[in-house]
């Protein structure tokens, strides 16, 4: 069950993972993208932190909205509107249900609508979708989903320009999404 407190912890944990793996994410984005995914996510998470810090006694909806706006107004890259839309959808839904599984599901729907990608297109959807549909979220589920993007051919995003040459590389947005859900698992009391 998501609360204001554990959601903040989750995002702070995600922030740390992004900070730690910033260069790795940009490196992943180099052969099949434009080499900035780590920088984009770092800028976005700094935005999220600032945006969360400005809140005074927020409810869960206000918190999700702040997270979304932090990402949307700081990233710019494809990942910004996508992560941002996911959290916006969670903001809309969280007055109705605070179950992580439900919120991830609406987040996934938002990403798919915003970006037009579907499963197998070698995008972050390929992590969000297995995670949203897993009966129990484990690090193995995440790791398998992330790893599976390696053999896919990209159909959306910059990597799609490469056609078959996109095969053989992990999708950077899938890897960062993996960190998001690992951070979720690591946050006590959410799942």
């Amino acid at each position: 069950m998501l609360t204001v407190e554990n959601t903040q912890k989750w995002l702070n944990n995600f922030y740390q993972k992004i900070e730690e793996h910033k260069d790795y994410l940009s490196e992943l984005d180099t052969p099949i993208g434009d080499g900035d995914h780590g920088n984009n996510m770092m800028r976005g998470m700094v935005g999220v932190k600032e945006s969360m810090a400005r809140l005074q006694n927020p409810d869960l909806q206000a918190l999700f909205k702040a997270i979304a706006m932090g990402l949307i107004s700081k990233v710019g890259g494809a990942s910004g509107p996508l992560y941002g839309t996911a959290f916006l959808e969670m903001a809309k839904k969280c007055t109705e249900t605070q179950a992580a599984a439900d919120l991830i599901l609406v987040g996934l729907a938002g990403i798919k609508k915003r970006g037009g990608a579907t499963e197998g297109d070698k995008t972050m959807v390929d992590v969000w979708s297995p995670v949203a549909h897993s009966s129990q979220l484990t690090t193995e589920v995440i790791a398998a989903a992330v790893a599976a993007t390696k053999d896919m051919q990209a159909k959306k995003g910059r990597a799609s320009y490469l056609g078959e040459r996109s095969i053989g590389h992990l999708d950077p947005g899938a890897v960062s999404s993996g960190y998001l859900f690992t951070a979720l698992i690591e946050t006590e009391g959410i799942l």
Partner: protein, 334 residues
């Protein structure tokens, strides 16, 4: 991290300092929209009653896009981080400032980031009852077009799109007319590039790819996206042949058509080389009985300090388009 040999201060400040330097150097053309990295024409009086034209995208393509702000071309432009789309709040601010009641037309380059961020801005503007239409420029023929992918990238041909919609808007065209013009012209604008070296994003500090001392790459994008083939460096003549062939395969060149040509330097390629390339291009077009009716050679849509050239052909199937291309403008960089 290795020192980046650039004339900059803190890498994370390049965009805000650049925008500031640009507007303060050319106050007669543009000014900053407060609290954004968006810029708008400073001659606001002469914008009255006209459709606003807003473009933008990642920084690193200077003089695009802000260099084309001014009478007869763009009303406003939004500068994202280097090689990164601007965010919806900034684009929205530009749309709002550009709207004079007749609506705003967006010129967007086809990258998923740009498309999604401009889309979100459009949603915001429509909530304010601002009419917004847009064109997604996808002139780079190096990338296979397909319904199942992101499709072609928007590159140097975008500048020609700016020019024609800007001229139409200045002459009082309606939002619907501008949309029709842009949609009609779009499929006739095709671009292909060759790179001799890659760009280094200041915050990244190393080049997007590396080419050997004697290697070039055909079909690269404007963000160090890989191209379709690597080869040993060729003569200018052979580069022209390769790029023209590629354009011809995409859309057969027609001897009886009128073409506009944009030879675009990618940032570090001297004009000397661009003029030599143009010499060979005009020779080879002449051999196909094609004489361009309009031509520009220079740095218009760059990729920071990438060395290379792109070639854009614009098949002027509608004779009005040439008038839009030659329509006078007042900008920093056209």
């Amino acid at each position: 991290m290795k020192i980046v040999k650039k004339i900059i201060n803190e890498p994370q400040n390049v965009v805000s300092e650049m925008v500031d330097g640009l507007v303060r150097s050319y106050p007669q053309y543009l000014e900053k929209i407060p609290d954004t990295e968006a810029m708008i024409r400073s001659d606001s009086a002469s914008m009255k009653g006209k459709v606003g034209i807003v473009s933008g995208g990642g920084s690193g393509h200077e003089p695009s896009h802000a260099g084309f702000i001014g009478k007869g071309m763009l009303t406003a432009a939004v500068a994202g981080q280097v090689f990164t789309s601007p965010t919806p709040d900034q684009i929205y601010a530009a749309i709002k400032a550009a709207d004079q009641g007749r609506g705003v037309f967006l010129v967007i380059k086809n990258y998923s980031g740009d498309v999604m961020n401009f889309d979100m801005a459009k949603d915001l503007a429509e909530l304010d009852d601002i009419k917004v239409k847009s064109i997604i420029v996808n002139d780079d023929i190096a990338v296979e077009d397909s319904l199942y992918t992101q499709g072609r990238r928007g590159v140097a041909g975008t500048v020609l799109m700016h020019k024609i919609v800007g001229a139409a808007a200045d002459q009082g065209a309606s939002l619907a007319e501008i949309e029709t013009l842009a949609e009609k012209a779009l499929p006739h604008i095709s671009t292909i590039a060759v790179a001799l070296s890659a760009a280094t994003v200041p915050e990244v500090g190393k080049p997007g790819f590396t080419l050997a001392d004697d290697e070039i790459e055909y079909g690269v994008g404007i963000h160090s996206e890989p191209g379709y083939r690597r080869e040993k460096i060729k003569t200018s003549q052979k580069l022209v042949t390769e790029l023209l062939d590629k354009l011809d395969q995409n859309q057969p060149l027609q001897a009886d058509h009128q073409y506009a040509v944009l030879v675009n330097g990618m940032g570090a390629t001297p004009l000397m080389e661009q003029y030599i390339f143009s010499h060979d291009l005009l020779d080879q077009l002449a051999a196909k009985n094609i004489k361009p009716v309009f031509m520009k050679v220079g740095n218009y849509m760059t990729s920071i300090e990438m060395a290379g050239i792109s070639l854009t052909l614009f098949d002027l199937v509608d004779s009005e388009w040439l008038k839009y291309l030659t329509y006078p403008v007042e900008t920093v960089a056209w």
